[in-house]
Structure formats: structure tokens, C-alpha cells
């Protein structure tokens, strides 16, 4: 592929149906997962709210968006899933949506056959009955997936996102991809103390565990790549949601907070920083929509669209969260104010599924801008 060709004319807007879905998800999250609730649940050591997950996954039907109807899903696409993820980013509610309903679901979609075991598991995920996660470090970039298929089922994998919430682990090995029940013998899921309080990480230890083989090494590698590509692509929408919340709250706060007998938001040095952030958020939206649309269309442009979106949106989310903390002054440094939840999410997201630099390397390869 050359840099000039663009295989697919993208639709970068939101459809009416997508806006309806957004409203449904947003009101659910406003009701069940506002910032004080998120903070309280994190401190109570029960980060995941099962009732919230049930409402989101099966009530709204969000878990099955990527799954065709004949396989038990909603038959929608990455465009709709991206809208759900934007809202999840805006609320930083802990929910295994990106990891299970997107990444694990995409892996299984690549492997599903008429009579294979992947189909049944997929239907369970789509219905919100089960949660599955790919047993790879959260930092794994799509370009590294082939390298992840090594070793045996006996292994320890650290930094697996949402493993604590999972019923099933999808474990890549040298012989292929296995589905391993987390409740089974020889499976340990050890919670880790994570930087991002709202997306729990765990170390997964398998010793003598058994699993169902879903695919041999070749197809497994392609499936894992597909899963990670979708994960990285839709993570951009989460980063957009995080950045939007940060900007909106910062504007709201600085309009109200008075110092020197003026709203602090009337100081030009602050106004310009927020205006700059607005421009970044607007641009991040175009990049994130482009990635979601390219994934939805199965476009050959998708790897580039995803790499561009990740390289751009990671930085925007971190910048927005850092500005949010700074422009809130002392309050921004307190545990009570939710700004830190967004900063932690944004910073962790900038590593998840590959850093911005890793994605820029991918861009270089895809558009033939070779390194020296």
C-alpha cells in the first residue's frame, strides 16, 4: 500500500442510531457510575459493579454489538461499539468492555466455525453471560501479537487487564490458542496494584491447567492480531471520552472559580490552553471515528487508521488530563476530586495496546517512511 491511496471513503459523523445508543449508555452510567460511586467502589475492593455490567452488556445489548445476529449478537459494528467506549471513557467506570466485548470477542470472531468451541463461548460473551480476556500484557501492541504465540500453557503473564472479572482466559501458546476457565485447577489470578484504579490488572499463573484448544498457531496469530487491532482502534474512542470529560469539567470549573476578583477562566493564559485542548479533542474525534469506521468496514486501511488514531489520541488524553489537574489547582491534587481517576486512566491508556511511539513505528512501516 502506498501512502496516497485511501481504500475506503470514511464516514466520520455519528448516525442517529449511534446517538440513541450513546444516550442510553450515558444515562445508565450517570445513574450507576458517577464519579463518587466509582471512587467508593474502588476503595471497597469490589471495583466491578455486576448490576451495572448486566444492564450494559445484556440490558442495552452492548456486549454483542460486534457479533453477528446468527452468532447470538446484535449485528452492529465497531462504530457503535466505539460510541459505548467513548461513554465508558467519559465515566471511567470499571467494566471489562474493551477487553472482553471487543478484544476477546474479535479473537473469537476470527476463529468461529460451525461446530468449533469458539462459537459457544462467543455467544456467551455476546449475551453478557460470560467475560473473557486475552491473557497477554495490556501493553501488547498489535504488531507484537505474533511474537506472543510462544511457550506452553504453563506460564505466568503479568499485567492482564480485567482478568479478575474474567470467566475465561484466551491463552496464546506455541501450539495455538487455548480457552482456560479461570475457576479451573492450576489457574491463579493474582490482583496487582495498578496505576489505573479503574481498570484492574492481574498476574495470571497457569501450572498444570487445562484448556480447550481454539486454534492452531497460524490462525491463532491472525486472530490475536485482529483482536489487538480492534482493541487499539477502539481504545482511541475511550481516550476521546476521557479527554472530553477533562475539557468539559475544566471549562466548567474555571468559569466558576474566582481569584483576583475574576473567574480564573477569564485569564488569557488559561483560555488559550483550553482552546488548544478543544482543538486537540476535535481532532481526536476525527481520528477515533476514522479508526472505528475503517474497522467496521474491514478496510485494508484499518491498520493505518488505527495506528494514526493511537499515535494521536493517546497524547491528547494525557494532555487533557494533565491540564485538568493543573487548571483545577489544589483541588485537582485531591483524592476526593475525580480528576486523578482520569489522569491515571489516560496515562495507563497511553501504554495499553502499544504506546504512541510504537504506533508511529507502525505508521512508518505502512506508509513507507523508513527509519535511517
Amino acid at each position: 500500500m502506498t501512502a496516497q491511496t485511501e481504500a475506503h471513503a470514511p464516514d466520520l459523523l455519528y448516525s442517529e442510531a449511534e446517538e440513541d445508543l450513546r444516550s442510553a449508555v450515558r444515562s445508565l452510567l450517570a445513574d450507576r457510575a458517577d464519579a463518587p460511586k466509582v471512587l467508593a467502589s474502588i476503595e471497597s475492593d469490589t471495583p466491578y459493579d455486576q448490576r451495572l455490567w448486566d444492564s450494559l452488556a445484556s440490558g442495552i445489548g452492548a456486549a454483542g454489538l460486534l457479533v453477528p445476529e446468527k452468532l447470538g449478537g446484535q449485528g452492529a459494528s465497531h462504530r457503535e461499539a466505539a460510541v459505548v467506549i467513548e461513554e465508558l471513557g467519559r465515566s471511567v467506570a470499571p467494566a471489562p468492555y474493551l477487553t472482553s466485548s471487543v478484544v476477546a470477542t474479535e479473537v473469537l470472531l476470527a476463529l468461529v466455525t460451525d461446530d468449533g468451541p469458539a462459537g459457544e463461548l462467543l455467544a456467551g460473551l455476546a449475551a453478557g453471560r460470560k467475560v473473557a480476556v486475552l491473557a497477554l500484557p495490556f501493553a501488547t501492541a498489535p504488531a507484537d501479537s505474533a511474537r506472543a504465540l510462544t511457550g506452553t500453557l504453563d506460564r505466568t503473564v503479568t499485567g492482564v487487564a480485567d482478568a479478575v472479572a474474567a470467566d475465561v482466559l484466551l491463552v496464546p501458546t506455541g501450539e495455538g490458542l487455548y480457552a482456560v476457565e479461570t475457576g479451573g485447577d492450576g489457574v491463579g489470578v493474582q490482583p496487582l496494584v495498578a496505576l489505573d484504579l479503574t481498570r484492574p490488572l492481574a498476574a495470571v499463573t497457569l501450572s498444570g491447567a487445562t484448556g480447550t484448544r481454539l486454534a492452531e498457531a497460524g490462525p491463532a496469530a491472525a486472530a490475536v492480531t485482529r483482536g489487538l487491532l480492534a482493541g487499539a482502534g477502539l481504545l482511541a474512542s475511550e481516550q476521546l471520552g476521557v479527554a472530553e470529560w477533562c475539557l468539559t469539567e475544566t471549562v466548567r470549573y474555571t468559569r466558576e472559580r474566582h481569584q483576583f476578583n475574576r473567574p480564573v477562566g477569564s485569564f488569557q493564559s488559561l483560555k488559550h490552553r483550553m482552546a488548544q485542548l478543544w482543538l486537540e479533542v476535535v481532532s481526536a474525534r476525527a481520528a477515533a471515528r476514522n479508526a472505528a469506521d475503517a474497522l467496521a468496514a474491514g478496510s485494508p486501511d484499518a491498520p493505518l487508521a488505527v495506528a494514526v488514531a493511537q499515535a494521536y489520541c493517546s497524547t491528547v488524553a494525557v494532555h487533557a488530563a494533565e491540564e485538568c489537574v493543573q487548571l483545577h489547582g489544589g483541588i485537582g491534587m485531591t483524592w476526593e476530586h475525580p480528576a486523578h481517576l482520569y489522569l491515571k486512566r489516560a496515562k495507563a491508556d497511553s501504554i495499553a495496546y502499544g504506546s504512541a511511539g510504537r504506533h508511529r513505528d507502525a505508521v512508518a512501516e505502512l506508509v513507507e517512511l523508513e527509519a535511517p
Binding site: E6, M274, S283, A284, R360, V367, A371, P372
Partner: protein
């Protein structure tokens, strides 16, 4: 009526135009005049004024059809101020007579326009302008204009100018301004080249001494010129094309090409910066594309004000990188002789020129600082600056 016109119909009209005036045998001006008369100049303009009252989104259909047939175009880069600023203002505020007189030669490119807005003492604070227009006492109703304008692009090739001048110094500055169409060939109009950072003189100083402007060339009511100027300025900032820009379509394409063709120039530091800018340029392209889709879908968003900011910064960073990438060659400059170009041609010149000229991108048409103020106040709703110039009469303000 607009509701009944669709893509198929404009395509048919374009084909009829091509059949009646084959580009191969028709002169450039004659073809463009026929195109204007067929309503295919700017399809969203009224019938009789170069348009069809059709949706703006049909313009690309016409453009593509005509371009494919090798039809001549009206060189939009050369007549950018006329097309982008004078025309929408005349359409919005002009009398029928003014519209009939000015729009056709403007669009055809026979008459070039310039913008006499900025003054030595009034740039960002444009409403502070001091050029005076006084009604002649001789009963003609003519206005007599005295003052100095500056940084006027294309004044040396322009036939007409949009001009704002103060008609009442005793009221607050925004209220005492009127808007005129100035004949650049009239006695008392003196254009002097103003050499710029690139060595050439793309803009000018314009001295106006006792210039007589008939009242029939006023646009909008006396004293309401600020409102008219707002339309001009908004169109200036949002003048965003209907055409889709291809990937690597802007200045990044030039740099990427050099990178691919000259491996010897590559370093790790330049690679890192090139990729960051490549991604940013691609995202800016997508953001522009999203804005275009919003406009076509009839939901104009505030993104337009942001695009100028983004492109200014990107052009500057990319052209800066390009000079460094070229190394030895980057140390050279094509030509410092004072030239008076008809248009700004970024891509046709060398890297040093691009680097220097792009510095104007964050100044011309409103500085980036002023645009950030606009985004902050009008898009984000942040409090406006405390001001002490709103209620005082213009003549009492510090200058």
C-alpha cells in the same frame, strides 16, 4: 428551487455546458462566462448570479465533471480574496445592482479584489481603524476617503477593494464604521510595495488621499460596517474547500517525498519528528474531512475556527523540519530579488521560502492568539476579557 435539484441534474447541466462550449475550441474567458451564466460557478448562489439555488454539496459534482473534460478553471488561488471574502459579503449585503455589476467579473477572474482592512494602528483590533470617510458637502453624496492601509495582499494587481473606514468618530469604535467598495484605479489611491520576510512583495502599503467613492458603492447601512466586516472575516476563516484533500496532500507530502527519495538525509531525530508531524497532518486532514461532512449534512460545527489554527502550526513545523532535513541544500535560498507575485505559491518554491512564508499563516486573517480567544469565548463559553474600549467614543481612545 433547491429541493428539486439533484446531482444528476447538475451533472446534466455541466454536460450541456461542455457540449455548447467545448473546452478545446472555446477561449478561457468565454468558457468561464458561459459557466457563470449556466449557474455552475457556485451552485448555491441565486439563479442569475452564477448559481442555481442548489445545495452547496453539489459543487464538487460540477467541478469533477468539468475537470474531467479538461475545462479551464478560474484560478481560485489568484482570486482568493474575491472568491472567499468579497463575493459572500456582496451577496449578503449588496444591492441588486452591485451584485449584477461585480459578481460575474469577480468569478471569471477578470477583476481581482483586495482587502483594505488592516492599518498601521489597527490589526487585531481592527475596529480601532482610523481611515476616515466623510461625505462631500457638494451635494453629490460622494464619500471622500483619507487614510493608510497596510499589509494589503494583491493590491498591486487588484481592480477593486473591499474597504472599511470610519464615518463617525463620536460613537464607540464598533459603531462608527462603514463598508465600501473602492476602485483601485481612482485618483488618490497609491499602492507601494511592502517587501516581506521572503524578499518579495506580496503585500503592500496603500495610501488613500481624497479618494472619492460614490454612495452607490457603499455595502450595508452607514455606521453598520462592522457587522458587514464580520461576514467577511468569518468567510475568511472558514473558507474551507468542498474538495477532499488526499492523504499527504499538503506540505507533508513534499517532505515525505524527499524522505523517501533521499535516504542519505535521514537521521533518527528527524525520523521521530517526521512521523509525529505525518500523524498530525493526517489527523488534521481527517478533521477537515469531518467538518466538510458536517457542512454537507447541514450541521455546521465550530470546528472551522480551529482548522486555521491547526494548519498554521503544522505548516510552520513541517516547513521548519524540511529545511533541516535538506541540510546543505537547506542553507541555500532560490532568489532574494524583490518580486511582486500574483499569488502565493508554496509548493512551487524552495524549502527556505516555504519556511519563511509559513510564518505568515499564524498572522494573516487573524493571529493564532486572536483565534484562540475566539474559540475560548465563542465555542467554550469562557468569560470575555475585561474591556475598557466598548462604550467610549472612538475619538477618546488611546492610540
Amino acid at each position: 428551487m433547491s429541493a428539486t435539484i439533484d446531482a444528476q441534474q447538475v451533472r446534466r447541466l455541466a454536460r450541456e455546458l461542455l457540449a455548447a462550449h467545448p473546452p478545446a475550441t472555446t477561449g478561457r474567458t468565454a468558457f468561464l462566462e458561459a459557466r457563470f451564466d449556466a449557474g455552475l460557478a457556485w451552485v448555491h448562489y441565486p439563479v442569475g448570479l452564477g448559481g442555481l439555488d442548489a445545495p452547496r454539496s453539489l459543487q464538487p459534482v460540477v467541478d469533477a465533471e468539468l475537470a474531467a473534460a479538461g475545462a479551464p478553471d478560474n484560478d481560485p488561488r489568484r482570486i482568493g480574496i474575491g472568491l472567499g471574502m468579497a463575493a459572500p459579503t456582496i451577496l449578503g449585503f449588496g444591492t441588486d445592482e452591485q451584485k449584477k455589476r461585480f459578481l460575474r467579473p469577480l468569478w471569471v477572474g477578470e477583476e481581482v479584489w483586495c482587502q483594505l482592512f488592516s492599518e498601521p494602528g489597527a490589526g487585531s483590533d481592527l475596529a480601532a481603524l482610523a481611515t476616515r470617510a466623510v461625505r462631500d458637502e457638494d451635494g453629490s453624496g460622494d464619500w471622500v476617503v483619507d487614510g493608510q492601509k497596510v499589509w494589503t495582499s494583491s493590491a498591486h494587481v487588484a481592480r477593486w477593494a473591499i474597504l472599511i473606514a470610519r464615518t463617525d468618530p463620536d460613537v464607540p469604535k464598533h459603531r462608527g464604521i462603514s463598508y465600501f467598495i473602492c476602485d483601485m484605479t481612482d485618483p488618490g489611491v497609491e499602492v507601494r510595495p511592502l517587501r516581506q520576510i521572503t524578499g518579495e512583495a506580496e503585500f503592500n502599503e496603500v495610501f488613500l488621499t481624497g479618494v472619492r467613492i460614490p454612495d452607490s458603492r457603499r455595502l450595508g447601512p452607514v455606521g453598520d460596517g462592522w457587522k458587514v466586516a464580520q461576514t467577511t472575516l468569518m468567510n475568511e476563516r472558514v473558507s474551507i474547500g468542498g474538495a477532499r484533500i488526499p492523504r499527504e496532500g499538503g506540505m507533508i507530502g513534499t517532505v515525505a517525498k524527499t524522505w523517501r527519495e533521499q535516504p542519505a538525509l535521514r537521521t533518527h531525530d528527524l525520523h521521530r519528528r517526521l512521523l509525529t508531524l505525518w500523524v498530525e497532518a493526517e489527523v488534521a486532514r481527517l478533521t477537515g474531512e469531518r467538518l466538510r461532512q458536517q457542512l454537507v449534512a447541514g450541521q455546521p460545527g465550530p470546528e472551522g475556527s480551529g482548522m486555521k489554527l491547526a494548519f498554521a502550526r503544522l505548516n510552520q513545523e513541517i516547513s521548519g523540519l524540511e529545511v533541516e532535513l535538506l541540510g546543505d541544500e537547506g542553507l541555500l535560498y532560490s532568489d532574494w530579488t524583490l518580486r511582486r507575485p500574483e499569488l502565493v505559491d508554496f509548493t512551487g518554491r524552495d524549502a527556505g521560502y516555504r519556511y519563511l512564508r509559513s510564518k505568515g499563516n499564524s498572522i494573516e486573517g487573524g493571529t493564532s492568539e486572536v483565534l484562540l480567544n475566539i474559540v475560548a469565548e465563542r465555542v467554550l463559553g469562557l468569560p470575555v476579557e475585561p474591556r475598557n474600549d466598548k462604550d467610549a467614543a472612538w475619538k477618546d481612545l488611546a492610540r
